[in-house]
């Protein structure tokens, strides 16, 4: 197992490297000059040249790339053009909010999807199945930026239970987590239903039932564990989707997460900040993939990694 982990880690490094390189190129190709954006229109040309020199923007791209890479092992990701704060600091300040929202929405999604998916599989073809399917599709079809304000209208304005926006671990977390988690819950429900149905077809299940095991136990105790393996994989893979969905949710609820930071950085052509954010996101995506693989191995002992 340890050898497998090491191998995986070694293979992920070039991936992260690749992502960061591609992004570096892309952002430098975007039209829009960060110096102009920073200094505005009343700046003198000499001033712009100075700033360009200071930010190393006058050096060839390769050289800028090299100094960016060199800074990574030192933990120096550069200084944000906009706020003049170190990039690592800007990102670190927002990590708790991002983690909190992501963890809570995934939890919400799992708590909703598990029972619904199992129910749909057990009562396949009946009303409950179609209802849960309809609910799943309804939540898939409603974009975040509509669901959010609708939830706010109900729970904040009409009922006065929750705040409209803002950051906090208590009440402010509820609506953003539900908004973000609903889309995931829909996908998960369908997936759980599908994989569970696959498992239930297998021989060991029919054998267990033939031996007298009640249907419900067969489902929950045996089939579910195996069915969860591909689901967990998908969960891990959809981490990227969580990040994408979270940008919209973060903007709507004024949640200070990394997704929103990334968008603002791109708008401002804040190269170091964009690169730093992408590096962090790529690293965490890769880490999440690794974690899901390990989780899968624990769930299904038949999966052995060499």
């Amino acid at each position: 197992m340890r050898r497998y982990l090491l191998g995986r880690l070694l293979r992920t490094l070039p991936v992260v490297f690749g992502v960061v390189t591609v992004v570096f190129l892309l952002i430098h190709l975007l039209p829009g000059d960060p110096v102009e954006i920073m200094l505005g229109e009343s700046a003198v040309p000499a001033q712009k040249e100075e700033l360009r020199r200071e930010l190393h923007l006058d050096r060839p791209i390769l050289s800028q790339y090299a100094s960016f890479l060199a800074g990574i092992p030192r933990g120096d990701l550069g200084v944000s053009f906009r706020s003049r704060e170190p990039v690592l600091g800007e990102i670190a300040r927002r990590i708790p909010a991002t983690v909190l929202l992501a963890a809570t929405s995934i939890t919400v999604a799992v708590f909703v999807a598990l029972p619904l998916g199992v129910l749909a599989a057990m009562r396949r073809g009946k009303a409950a199945d179609y209802l849960s399917g309809f609910a799943a599709m309804l939540s898939l079809s409603i974009p975040n930026f509509l669901l959010g304000p609708l939830l706010v209208l109900l729970f904040s304005v009409q009922l006065g239970l929750l705040p409209v926006s803002g950051y906090g671990a208590g009440r402010p977390l509820v609506l953003p987590a539900i908004t973000l988690g609903t889309g995931m819950a829909a996908l998960l429900t369908r997936m759980i239903r599908a994989t569970l149905l696959e498992e239930l077809r297998k021989e060991y299940v029919t054998a267990a039932i033939a031996r007298g095991l009640p249907f419900r136990s067969a489902v929950v105790r045996h089939a579910l564990r195996n069915a969860l393996v591909p689901v967990v994989t998908v969960l891990g893979l959809s981490f990227g989707a969580v990040l994408a969905g979270s940008v919209i949710t973060e903007t709507i609820f004024s949640w200070p997460g990394i997704g929103r930071l990334l968008i603002q950085a791109i708008d401002a052509r804040d190269y170091p900040l964009v690169q730093g954010c992408v590096l962090v996101i790529a690293l965490s995506t890769v880490a999440v993939n690794l974690a899901t693989d390990i989780l899968c191995a624990r769930l299904d002992p038949r999966i052995r990694y060499e």
């Binding site: 293979r11 992920t12 070039p14 991936v15 992260v16 690749g18 992502v19 591609v22 992004v23 892309l26 952002i27 190709l29 975007l30 039209p31 829009g32 057990m122 396949r124 179609y130 399917g133 309809f134 599709m137 309804l138 898939l140 079809s141 409603i142 974009p143 975040n144 930026f145 509509l146 304000p149 609708l150 209208l153 369908r190 599908a194 239930l200 077809r201 029919t206 039932i209 009640p214 249907f215 067969a218 893979l237 990227g240 989707a241 990040l243 994408a244 940008v247 919209i248 997704g259 990334l262 968008i263 791109i266 964009v274 992408v278 996101i281 790529a282 995506t285 890769v286």
Partner: protein
């Protein structure tokens, strides 16, 4: 050939699944609406009557009017064109790229395959939002750019499926003998690999179309969507959401269209999956 195989047989088997049958009917309706939009739509989707902006449903405008006084019903019908085009176009492009890349990687193996896997990993670790914004910034919102943004990351799934199929088929014995007899890779691809891969790909494609249509609505929130005055369900939601609390019909009409389309494709996908499954499904309820 027994009566249950072939395209007709497929359709027949799929329609046994109740949801899929409904889905197919809905989709047929949408396709009709898309193709014959100018004939079916009661009014001109672009005609503005500014002073009647944000009017609710009335006898001359069954679904009301948007901010510029344009007829919402006509826009929804015309929107079917663009939205279905986005869905089908995205999946089409992703499929083509995916099939090509996956088969190449599978057939050639070795270094090519390693590059392929590496590229897939990089793309999957990519924050997709970045790409969408980048494209929006560079090229501005347009139908072509929407297709580009959605399909550039979407081909990976299909490529992986094909590649897996290629590997599994390559390993089988009869391939060795077919090759010995002189079969070319292209023939191999068409006669053996594709038919087996078609099942998961078809299912994945139907869900992909639904996803692409919903994604277009999300892109419109970011400002990347079709340019005004074109009507697509996504851009209608994007424009209409600012009036959510005073004119909800601007959002519910295209939203319902998207919901129905998503449902149709999803149920169709379910039905296809069941129909294409080589094992017959057993009755499972033990009660």
């Amino acid at each position: 050939m027994n009566e249950e195989s072939g395209l007709l047989g497929l359709i027949r088997r799929t329609s046994r699944h109740r949801g899929a049958a409904v889905g197919m009917v809905l989709l047929a309706l949408f396709l009709l609406a898309a193709v014959f939009a100018p004939v079916i739509a009661p009014g001109n989707p672009l005609a503005q009557t500014l002073d009647e902006g944000l009017s609710g449903p009335s006898s001359s405008h069954w679904l009301g009017q948007d901010k510029f006084g344009r007829d919402v019903l006509s826009r929804v019908i015309h929107g079917a064109r663009l939205s279905l085009a986005v869905g089908l176009g995205t999946v089409g492009i992703s499929l083509l790229i995916g099939l090509a890349a996956g088969s190449l990687a599978g057939f050639l193996g070795g270094a090519v395959d390693r590059i392929f896997t590496g590229a897939c990993d990089v793309l999957l670790a990519f924050p997709g939002i970045l790409l969408a914004i980048g494209i929006a910034a560079v090229r501005g919102p347009s139908f072509g750019n929407v297709l580009f943004a959605l399909s550039v990351l979407g081909w990976v799934g299909y490529a992986r499926v094909i590649r897996a199929q290629v590997f599994s088929v390559k390993a089988r014995e009869f391939v060795e003998s077919a090759r010995a007899v002189g079969g070319s890779p292209a023939r191999l691809l068409l006669r053996h690999i594709l038919p087996n891969a078609i099942s998961p790909i078809l299912v994945e494609a139907t869900f992909g179309i639904a996803r692409a249509i919903v994604a277009e609505a999300g892109l419109s929130f970011l400002g990347l969507g079709v340019a005004p005055p074109a009507a697509s369900w996504g851009s209608m939601i994007g424009e209409g959401r600012h009036f959510l609390f005073i004119a909800p019909h601007l959002v519910t009409a295209p939203g319902a269209a998207i919901l129905l389309t998503v449902m149709a494709f999803n149920f169709l996908g379910d039905g296809l999956r069941d129909a294409l499954d080589p094992k017959a499904h057993a009755k499972l309820s033990g009660r």
